[in-house]
Amino acid sequence: MNEPATTHVAQAGTLESMDCLVSITGAGARAIEISGSSAARFKGAIEKKIGEVLDTLSAKPVKVTVQDNGAIDVVLGARVEAAYRRFERGPSA
């Protein structure tokens, strides 16, 4: 019943060309929000990749926000993992 008090936001990545900025915060259920240049044509692929990375990390439910500037899958995956690991380390990290 009780939500964990993980309200901090962890970020990884940049808004440079071919990169993305991923923000992760605690949530009741997994949620994904995507904006940026690739969103119109790659929403499904981006959601799939984020899901795969979180599953591999056995992640708890989080909200993932992606501000995309043209990251291909390999870059997106690395940013999501980095952001999640920072999230796991907690607000002091």
Binding site: S17, S38, F42, D68, G70, A71, D73
Partner: protein, 519 residues
């Protein structure tokens, strides 16, 4: 519905455009004109007439007889610094004139100021490029009548053939005299060539010159003679010099662009056209300018002189002219200060009209003499069809420019582009909209190498001949497409509705594709 020669479904009637049954794209050189040229109204300004000089734009609009529902034209030589379109449309709105057809040679970001006039119905239709905010508005269904996109050569063809009749042409004139003689070479708003304004001056029923540099009669040299011009208006300013011309154009040092340019240059060097008398057009983009720089090195190495450079002219081309590497420049539009200065002083730097530059229906446009052109594109497909009009999300954001005309005219048409812009691939299995058909595109050059259209086996052979330092890295189109797809992943289709918001004409006036409203 019927399928045209590039496999696009075109409705037999497009609301706000007309019937397409006899207007389906059938091949780059398929449509043959018949009949006589169209023409403007005959006017007679006798010696006893009052002078042409009027006190303001409103007076000129009144004198021109402009009424609701008519067609007004503008040129785009003042580019992103233009004040004239805004001033004229504002005045029309104040005078209660509505339902105008706007027929510019191109629009720029600065013209977003007319959006309120589109929304209020002062402008009902646009025939010309729609960029940035206006393009977004149109793509989202903000205009009832579809935009008609024509190339730089297709536009004068449409005027000369009578597809479009101009009621009043408003010509921004960096220099003019009281008789309506016009030049772009001098004045605080100097823009160099004013090639896009010629046809409008010759074919409109009424021509109004708007200047901020009125000089004693007669000015010299004269680009457009006053025999075509009905009225002259002096205003405080026709444009912002900072938006009209850029400073000196510099070649990029971006390594990816340089790599692509290097490959394009190797292709040109390996081609049969790389010899004394070669002609080329490279425009002002980063990659094409870098190609010019590499070609300069190659021309010096092989002691080769080019006969002419064509199109929009930059300072870089002027440098080639001064150094004797290029004999002549044929300039329809001067991009920077060096080009403006050069056309004003060097007789080898020739001003040409859009008709002369690119119209498929005259006795031979300059593009027909072109050996090599370097172009860009939003995307190209495995049939080599190129899209320059719509963006990845399906929005209609770019004009056609000279893309179709130079591709059709040049012996070697090169599209030079990074394979991906961010995640978005520039090589797909099917472009969202076709601007230029693959039958006139010879090669795609990316950071992965040179991809030659299989119908140009002669070029493939020529590239294979080049060895050692001159070797051209060849990549087949299927491999290039597979590579792009592997990097980007599968793309979802563009979310669009059924309503047609844009019609893309091939330069001969046939419909090559349509653009639909975003969902």
């Amino acid at each position: 519905m019927a399928i045209n020669a590039v496999g696009r479904d075109i409705p037999s009637h497009i609301e706000g455009y007309g019937d397409t049954t006899n207007r389906l794209f059938a091949g780059a050189f398929a449509r043959i004109p018949e009949g006589n040229r169209d023409g403007g109204k005959i006017r007679a300004h006798g010696p006893k007439e009052n002078g042409k000089l009027l006190s303001g734009i409103r007076e000129a609009i009144a004198a021109s007889g402009l009424k609701s529902g008519m067609t007004v034209s503008f040129h785009h030589h003042l580019r992103n610094g233009d004040y004239v379109v805004g001033q004229v449309i504002d005045a029309c709105a104040e005078m209660g004139i509505r339902d105008l057809t706007l027929f510019p040679t191109a629009l720029f970001g600065v013209h977003k100021a007319i959006i309120p006039h589109i929304k209020s119905g002062v402008i009902r239709r646009i025939m010309g490029s729609v960029n940035g905010p206006i393009g977004q508005l149109v793509s989202e269904g903000g205009m009832e009548v579809p935009v008609v996109l024509r190339s730089h050569g297709g536009r004068p063809r449409a005027v000369v053939s009578g597809d479009v009749h101009i009621d009043v042409a408003f010509i921004a004139a960096p220099t003019a005299d009281r008789a309506g003689n016009i030049s772009g070479r001098e004045g605080k708003s100097a823009c160099g060539a004013i090639g896009y304004a010629f046809t409008d001056a010759q074919y409109a029923d009424c021509v109004v010159a708007i200047t901020d540099n009125l000089q004693p009669y007669p000015i010299a040299p004269i680009s457009i003679p006053g025999i075509y011009v009905d009225y002259v208006v002096q205003v405080e300013s026709i444009g912002d010099p900072a938006g009209i011309v850029s400073g000196t154009t510099r070649v990029t040092r971006d390594p990816l662009r340089l790599l692509i340019a290097k490959y394009a240059s190797k292709l040109i060097e390996a081609s049969p056209y790389f010899m004394d008398g070669i002609s080329f057009q490279t425009g002002a983009g980063g990659i094409p300018l870098a190609v010019t720089a590499y070609m300069k090195e190659a021309m010096m190495r092989h002691d080769i002189r080019a006969s002419f450079g064509l199109g929009g002219i930059t300072g870089y081309f002027v440098e080639l002219l001064r150094e004797g590497l290029v004999e002549k420049l044929m300039d329809v539009q001067s991009f920077d200060l060096d080009a403006v200065k050069s056309i004003a002083t060097d007789p080898r730097h020739i001003e040409i009209s859009a008709d002369w530059y690119a119209n498929p229906w005259n006795c031979g446009a300059a593009v027909n003499s072109l050996d090599v052109v370097i172009l860009g594109a939003t995307e190209v497909d495995t049939d080599f069809n190129a899209n320059v009009n719509t963006e990845a999300d399906g929005a209609l954001l770019h004009g056609t420019g000279g893309h179709q005309d130079t591709a059709a005219g040049a012996k070697l048409t090169i599209i030079a582009q990074p394979l991906l812009r961010g995640r978005i691939p520039c090589v797909t299995d099917r472009v969202h909209s076709v601007t230029t058909p693959g039958e006139v595109v010879d090669a795609i050059v990316t950071e992965f190498g040179v991809t030659i259209n299989p119908r140009r086996q002669d070029l493939i052979d020529a590239c294979k001949e080049a060895k050692g330092k001159d070797a051209v890295p060849l990549v087949p189109i299927d491999e290039l497409y597979a590579r792009a797809r592997k990097m980007s992943g599968p793309m979802e289709p563009v979310a669009q509705g059924d309503r047609i918001i844009g019609v893309i004409e091939w330069r001969d006036g046939t419909v090559i594709d349509v653009v639909r409203q975003l969902a």
